[in-house]
C-alpha cells in the first residue's frame, strides 16, 4: 500500500549490519564519544544540538538508572524520512541507541513512536525481538560483561508538541505533553528524573555510520559547521517527491534540480516551523548556519497562493499549541485572523506591521520551540510576498 519512496542511493544501505556497534564495543565509551565528537554530528531532528556534547553531559551525570530515548514523534508537516528509516533501517536505529547506551551507561531504551505510525509497531517489535535473540539487546550484550540494555516501544497519542524533548518525557511519564522549563535539562533530569538522552531517529543511524566508517569520512562532505549528509523529505510541486540523501550545505536551487522542482515560486524549508524561501533566494544553503531544517522540504509551484500556505500552517499551530504559555496560545490565533483579513483584502499596512511585531514577540517570548517557531512561516511569507498578499479583491490571488 505504501509506495517505495527512497530516491537514489543511501549511505545507510551500504553500512554493514552491526559494524558500528562492533567498533564501539572495541573502544572505551570515552573513545567512541571522541569519534562522534570529531565527526561534528549535530541533531538531525532539526535543532542541531551537537550530539557528542549531549551524550558527554549525560555520561558525566551521576545516576544508577539512565535512559536512551529515540524521538520517533515525527510530526513536522512535510517530514516523513523517519518513517522511511524506521521501515527500512530499524536495526540501524536500534544499533545506534545501543551505542548511545554504551557511551552514557544507560540500561533502558525507549522509542516514542507517534500514534499515526502505529502500523510500524509490529515490524519494530519483530526487529527488537530478533536483536534480543542475537544478544544485540539484553544482558551482557555481545559478551561485554555488565553491558545490559533493552528497548521498549511506547506510543504517542497525536500531539505535535511531544516532539519537543521535555514534552515527550512528560508524555512518557503519563502527563499532558507540556514542555518543561529548562534548566534542568534531560541530560541530568530526564525521564523519571534520571539522566536521559533524547535523539532523533536519524541521528542514531548516523552514529552507526560514523563509528563504522570514521569521523573523517563523515566530515568529508558538508560545511564546516554542518558536517556530513542528511535525509530530506521532499514533497509538493515537483516531479520526483520522496526521501533523498544530500550533503549538508546544498543550495535550494541544486536541491530543486535533483527533485524536478525547477520553476518553483517558493520552498518551505523546515516544515510549518521553518521558513519560506522565495525563488529569488534559491542560492541559499540548507545548513544549520543558513537555513536549518529537520529535513522537511515543501515545494510551491508558480500557481500556489502563499496566503493559503500561511493559513494552513497557522491553523496547524492554533490546533497544536499546548496552551501553556500566552504568546503561543494567544499569538497564533491573532496571526491566523490577520491572514483571513489579508485574504479578504481588508488588512492595513499598519495592522500588518503590528502582526509582524506580534510574531517577533512570539519568537522571543514563547516557552518552547513550538511557539517560538509558529510565526516563522507567516513572517517570511509577509516579507517575501507582499505584492501577492496585499490589496486583494474577492480573496483571490490574481
Amino acid at each position: 500500500m505504501i509506495a517505495k519512496t527512497l530516491q537514489g542511493s543511501l549511505t545507510f544501505s551500504d553500512i554493514e549490519a552491526e559494524s558500528g556497534l562492533a567498533a564501539a564495543l572495541n573502544h572505551a565509551p570515552a573513545d567512541a564519544l571522541r569519534h562522534i565528537d570529531a565527526s561534528g554530528l549535530r541533531g538531525r531532528g532539526g535543532a542541531g544540538f551537537p550530539t557528542s556534547l549531549k551524550w558527554d553531559l549525560a555520561a558525566k551525570s551521576p545516576g544508577d538508572r539512565k535512559y536512551v530515548i529515540c524521538n520517533a514523534d515525527e510530526g513536522e508537516p512535510g517530514t516523513f524520512k523517519d518513517r522511511v528509516i524506521l521501515s527500512e533501517f530499524a536495526d540501524m536505529v536500534f544499533e545506534g541507541m545501543t551505542i548511545g547506551a554504551m557511551v552514557i551507561g544507560a540500561q533502558y531504551g525507549l522509542v516514542y513512536l507517534r500514534a499515526e505510525y502505529t502500523y510500524l509497531r509490529p515490524h519494530l517489535e519483530a526487529v527488537l525481538q530478533r536483536r534480543r535473540e542475537r544478544n544485540l539487546l539484553g544482558k551482557n550484550i555481545q559478551g561485554k560483561e555488565g553491558f545490559d540494555f533493552d528497548i521498549e516501544i511506547r506510543m504517542g497519542a497525536g500531539a505535535y508538541v511531544c516532539g519537543e524533548e521535555t514534552a515527550l518525557i512528560e508524555s512518557l511519564e503519563g502527563q499532558r505533553g507540556e514542555p518543561r522549563n529548562r534548566p534542568p535539562f534531560p541530560i541530568d533530569t530526564g525521564y523519571l528524573d534520571n539522566p536521559t538522552i533524547v535523539n532523533n531517529v536519524e541521528t542514531f543511524a548516523w552514529v552507526v555510520c560514523i563509528l563504522a566508517r570514521g569521523a573523517k569520512w563523515f566530515k568529508s562532505v558538508g560545511t564546516e559547521k554542518s558536517t556530513g549528509r542528511k535525509l530530506f523529505s521532499i514533497s509538493g510541486d515537483c516531479q520526483r517527491p520522496g526521501v533523498y540523501e544530500f550533503p549538508m550545505g546544498i543550495t535550494v536551487a541544486e536541491l530543486l534540480g535533483e527533485v524536478g522542482g525547477e520553476g518553483a515560486k517558493a520552498v518551505q524549508v523546515g516544515g510549518a516551523a521553518g521558513q519560506c524561501v522565495p525563488a529569488a533566494q534559491s542560492d541559499r544553503t540548507i545548513a544549520y548556519e543558513d537555513i536549518p531544517t529537520g529535513g522537511s522540504i515543501i515545494i510551491f509551484g508558480p500557481e500556489r497562493d502563499m496566503l493559503r500556505v500561511a493559513e494552513n500552517f497557522l491553523e496547524f499551530f492554533v490546533d497544536e499549541s499546548c496552551g501553556q504559555c500566552t504568546p503561543c496560545r494567544e499569538g497564533a490565533p491573532r496571526l491566523l485572523e490577520g491572514v483571513k483579513l489579508l485574504q479578504q483584502g481588508r488588512c492595513s499596512m499598519q495592522y500588518l506591521r503590528e502582526l509582524c511585531d506580534l510574531g517577533q514577540s512570539m519568537q522571543l517570548a514563547a516557552k518552547c520551540g513550538l511557539g517560538q517557531t509558529a510565526p516563522n512561516a507567516f513572517l517570511s511569507i509577509v516579507e517575501h510576498f507582499r505584492d501577492e498578499i496585499l490589496g486583494r479583491i474577492n480573496g483571490s490571488l490574481s
Binding site: 515525527e74 497519542a157 497525536g158 505533553g177 523519571l192
Partner: protein
Amino acid sequence: MLVTERERLRDDLVKMADRFGRDRSALMPILQELKRTHYHISGYSMQVIADLLDIHPVEVDSVVSFYSFLDEKPQGQFVIRLCRTITCAMRGKEHVARQLVNDLGIDFGETTSDGKFSLAWANCLGMCDQGPAMLVNDNIYTHVTPEKVHGILEECRRTFGVHALADKEHAS
C-alpha cells in the same frame, strides 16, 4: 450503564493495570488500550483508572483531553482521520473530505448513529509525497481520491466482524 457492564469494564481495566503497571507512566498505555478495545474513555472508566493508579480523576481527564487520539466522546469502531496539512491540501484533500461527508452522512468531529465510523481531521500523517493521506484506525491509505472513498468504507464494513472478533480475543 448496567451494573454488570460496569463490573466487566472494571475487570478489563484491572487486567490492563496488571499488564502495564500501576505507576503514572502506565496511564497512557492503559488509556490507549481502553480506547482500542472499548472505543470509549468514559467518565466511569477514568474514575476506575484513577483509583488503580492512585491519582485524582481530574489528572486522568486532563491527559485524555490533551491528546487528539484520546477522546471522552464515544468513538466509532473505525476512526477515519484525513490529513489536512498543506501538501495533502495541494493534492485535493478538500474533495476527499466532501465525499467522506457525503458517503458517511456526518460532519468532521461526528460519529455515525450506528457507532461504526467517526470522522476527524489529522495533522501531518507523514505521507506528504503520496497525498491525500488518510488513517482508518491504524491503517494508512495514500493517494486517496473521492472515487476511492466508497471502496475504503465498504472494506471497513466487510471486515468489521473480523475486527470485532480479533479485539475480543485480544482483550480476553
